[in-house]
């Protein structure tokens, strides 16, 4: 199985920015990941697909530090790193946008983008940082910059409450928050799952912008149409293991569906499991 993967990724693959090798993760008796290899390069959108229970979400959470791996090696730019907590992931520039987005609907866009890291006005040093006045103007400038970097055109004001925004706009805000925090790897969990056609278009445009700005993007989705539009490479997982990684232009949705549902070779896959 491993050999097959090497032949598929092999020569054409760009040098990875973040790579993990042999990741294992069990929950009680359930082996969610059984030695998965995965990599993503800068300026690349790597799609992660698989049937339900294939281990996509678990791998995503391992990458984000939300579930520490039982076993496995993390390599970032050829240096081995440790990711055992969300904070570790954050400090290495790995950001995740969960499906539920985790935005505060009662706050405005600018406040959401700076949440937990609000700029404060200079001076006021006699107060502890959490009681110093927030520099609202700097916060808005920061938000405008993040929004314009991702070219979220439909957003009228960074002072609008998130509660009044559309699904696509919210997704874009959540992505902007992840990107704003000095990140190099952005993990997107089903970003278009609940969106209509126009909203999906908007989010896919944002994902393309992320690639242009040199981020390493990991994109989980069930929607192969979206994946074939936006991804550079596609990694298929099945039963907690790798099936293979393809470059998008040399494969077809049919091939991916077959890989997701039956693996490359039914017999071998069963042996591996």
């Amino acid at each position: 199985m491993l050999e097959m993967m090497e032949t598929k990724v092999g020569r054409d693959a760009p040098p990875p920015h973040l790579a993990v090798y042999g990741v294992r993760k069990s929950f009680g008796g359930v082996h969610a990941l059984r030695g998965v290899d995965f990599e993503v390069a800068r300026g690349e959108v790597m799609a992660l697909v698989g049937d339900n229970g294939a281990g996509k979400s678990t791998l995503m959470k391992v990458l984000a530090g939300a579930h520490p791996a039982d076993e496995g090696k993390f390599v970032m730019d050829d240096k081995e790193i440790e990711v055992a907590s969300p904070h570790d992931a954050f400090s290495h520039g790995i950001q995740i946008v969960y499906q539920d987005l985790a935005l505060c609907e009662n706050l405005d866009v600018a406040a959401n983008l700076s949440l937990g890291n609000e700029p404060v006005r200079p001076g006021w040093t006699f107060l502890p940082r959490f009681l110093r006045p927030i520099d609202e103007l700097a916060m808005e400038e920061k938000a405008l910059e993040a929004i314009s970097r991702l070219q979220v055109r439909t957003l009228r004001s960074v002072r609008a409450k998130v509660g009044g925004l559309s699904g696509g706009q919210r997704q874009a805000i959540a992505i902007a928050r992840a990107v704003g925090a000095d990140s190099s790897v952005v993990l997107l969990d089903e970003p278009t799952a609940a969106l209509g056609v126009a909203q999906t278009r908007q989010v896919l445009d944002v994902v393309k912008r992320l690639r242009e700005t040199g981020h390493a993007v990991v994109y989980i989705s069930h929607n192969l149409k979206d994946i074939f539009e936006v991804a550079d490479r596609i990694t298929v997982l099945r039963h907690g293991g790798n099936v293979a990684t393809w470059r998008t232009e040399v494969t077809t949705p049919d091939e991916i569906v077959v890989a997701m549902t039956t693996g490359l070779n039914e017999g071998k896959q069963k042996d591996a499991g």
Partner: protein, 393 residues
């Protein structure tokens, strides 16, 4: 997007509520309606003397409501605030009787309030008991503690000039006007400077009408209040203190990272946790602040009633009026929405209603039923505007 093109009445109403003064609109309308009604039916209601006493009567409820607003913002509730106020007032009274100077006794009461509040906060945040249960236990326990401190008579008279002075001193008319002018000047300066900075940095600007509208609105409110109070005895020191404390808490809750965390945790605790906000610390601090405000309310109550008695604080009317005031002011029981300023306006609504019904000779039964109806109406508005926000997705 259909929800954007079809701006329903509810949607517009919600948008108005999201502006700086917009959240005041419903409660101000309620206040105007109540004042108009009683102004017509009971001419004595709109006398400046009556307004003076209305402001003073609302001070205790208002102080407590400002504190309770802070936990409501988190989506929690504090049922023990009034009983806590009683405990703090009782401690202060006992200390003063024992010969401790008034200011130090007040300080001790405030420290006790913060400790009691933070302890409840610890139980809520770290042990994970729902705030409702913790503070219900607090309500019972504090009532007992208060009885214990007050001793068998259940009341201590308050003659200390410092404490009494808090609610008996009024500013001379000229000082009242000076203060009003200073407030209006600072408000205008702040808004205009903010606007100028926005222009310089190329940020989105408020329209000129909005800016000057806000200044005019603020001036009108402050001016009318000072004019009314000055034509009786002048602006009470208590009102100045209450507005000062509210301004401070208003600033802390809206303009500091700490306050932002309160709103974030109340709006979406999971989101707050993920961005690295320690929701537990925030919760303990919020309960500590409620405890502090409860102690202040206890001191104000002791000063106003010239005694500390079990009946004045325990039982429930004070607590329910304070929670009612916060909610009528527009603070959501679901967390994440509201403001301490609204609590003051809510306290005025409750106070006006009680005062007006008293003047018109309504029975206690009518008063209770009226208060219940108003509270229900306020929560209904909250629930409707909340579901409006959900539908706008």
């Amino acid at each position: 997007m259909p929800a954007e093109t079809v701006a329903s009445v509810a949607e517009r109403f919600r948008l108005i509520r999201e502006t700086r003064f917009g959240a005041f609109v419903p409660v101000l309308l309620a206040l105007v309606a109540i004042w108009t009604y009683f102004g017509i039916t009971e001419p004595a209601f709109i006398s400046s003397r009556n307004f003076y006493f209305l402001f003073m009567q609302s001070a205790v409820v208002g102080t407590l409501a400002v504190g309770i607003t802070i936990v409501l913002l988190l989506g929690d509730i504090d049922l023990s605030a009034a009983a806590g106020a009683g405990v703090c007032a009782a401690l202060m009274a006992v200390l003063i009787v024992a010969g401790v100077p008034g200011p130090i006794a007040c300080l001790a009461a405030i420290v006790l309030g913060i400790v009691l509040g933070s302890m409840q906060g610890l139980l809520v945040a770290y042990v994970g008991i729902p705030a409702f249960v913790v503070t219900l236990a607090g309500l019972l326990g504090f009532q007992g503690l208060m009885l214990k401190i007050l001793g068998i008579q259940g009341a201590i008279n308050m003659r200390d000039p410092f404490v009494r002075g808090l609610t008996t001193i009024s500013l001379p008319p000229l000082a009242g006007w000076g203060l009003a002018a200073a407030c209006i000047g600072l408000f205008a300066l702040f808004l205009l400077r903010n606007q100028a900075q926005r222009k310089r940095r190329g940020l989105e600007l408020d329209t000129v009408v909005t800016t000057w509208g806000q200044i005019a609105f603020f001036s009108l409110m402050v001016g009318a209040a000072v004019l009314t109070l000055n034509s009786y005895r002048g602006v009470p020191l208590m009102v100045v203190l209450l507005i000062g404390i509210t301004a401070l808490l208003g600033w802390v809750t809206t303009s500091t990272p700490f306050g932002r965390s309160i709103f974030a945790a109340g709006g979406n605790a999971e989101s707050a946790r993920r961005v690295g906000i320690n929701v537990r610390h925030i919760r303990v601090a919020a309960f500590g602040l409620v405890g502090m405000m409860a102690a202040v309310a206890g001191i104000v109550g002791a000063s106003r009633y010239a005694s500390v008695s079990f009946n004045a604080f325990a039982g429930g009317p004070l607590l329910l009026e304070a929670i009612g005031a916060a909610v009528i002011g527009g603070t959501s029981l679901f967390g994440g929405r509201g403001s301490v300023w609204n609590a003051i306006l809510g306290a005025l609504v409750i106070g006006s209603l009680g005062n007006g019904l008293d003047l018109s000779g309504a029975s206690a039964a009518d008063k209770l039923m009226f208060s219940g109806a108003i509270l229900l109406l306020a929560v209904a508005i909250d629930a409707v505007s909340r579901s409006g926000a959900v539908q706008a997705r």
